[in-house]
């Protein structure tokens, strides 16, 4: 996951590296996703990875509901 100055820079990167356009997040979406994903304390013995349903719920809370964000399969 890379940071770009703008959508135009993403498009150029995709062309230069022959990659399909993936998904674009605003910086605020990225910060919110980081807080939800990495906020729980991983030093805690009770910490565990999110289940698929929990991860999908996090994505959905940020409007990330396209097939791109489907972790199953």
């Amino acid at each position: 996951m890379l940071l770009f100055r703008s959508e135009e820079h993403i498009d150029r990167w995709c062309q230069d590296w022959n990659q399909p356009h993936g998904a674009t997040l605003t910086l605020q979406q990225g910060w919110s996703l980081a807080q939800l994903w990495y906020g729980p304390d991983r030093r805690d013995p009770a910490w565990r990875r999110f289940t698929l349903d929990e991860a999908h719920a996090i994505f959905a809370s940020l409007g990330l509901t396209s097939p791109f964000w489907d972790l199953s399969g």
């Binding site: 959508e7 993403i10 995709c14 356009h21 997040l25």
Partner: protein, 151 residues
């Protein structure tokens, strides 16, 4: 299906993240063995079980930590400064994840993935300061663990 983690595995995990959060440096398996007064082989076995559970990514040759999300054990293009300590994130999501995990103010020093222009993000009081930029996820979520270094 990865094996269930043992209490020892969870203690190793606690020490890995405690060390990374306090110092920005990933501990070696030998350092953890000393800290826990445990046989080195048992710590390396815990590293492998934590990797099998997708909680760590190990360096292929050495078996030492490469990634313990959101932290990178090796330098990357995503440097994070917080509380007088420097950290490396694996990607921009992880770079943002470091202040999220630390619950501290931070500055993220990186560059545009296309043109290399310097970019900086600031987290202050739990808020991302206004800045230009967009984040691109190139790999669909279901393929993230196929090649995490590339992702």
């Amino acid at each position: 299906m990865p094996a269930d983690l043992t209490p020892h595995d969870k203690e190793v995990r606690r020490l890995i993240f405690d060390t990374l959060m306090r110092t920005g440096k990933a501990p070696s398996s030998a350092e953890i063995a000393v800290a826990l007064a445990a046989p080195h082989d048992t710590v390396r076995a815990s590293f492998q079980r934590l990797a099998d559970a997708h909680m760590l990514l190990l360096q292929r040759a050495s078996g030492e930590i490469l990634m313990a999300g959101p932290f990178s054990a090796v330098p990357t293009a995503f440097q994070v400064h917080s509380g007088g300590i420097s950290y490396w994130g694996n990607c921009i999501w992880d770079a943002l994840g470091i202040p999220a995990m630390l619950h501290q103010d931070a500055q993220i020093i990186t560059a545009c993935g296309d043109c290399g222009e310097a970019m900086q993000l600031t987290i202050h009081g739990g808020t991302l300061a206004p800045a230009d930029g967009v984040i691109h996820f190139a790999i669909p979520a279901r393929r993230w663990w196929d090649n995490l270094v590339y992702t």
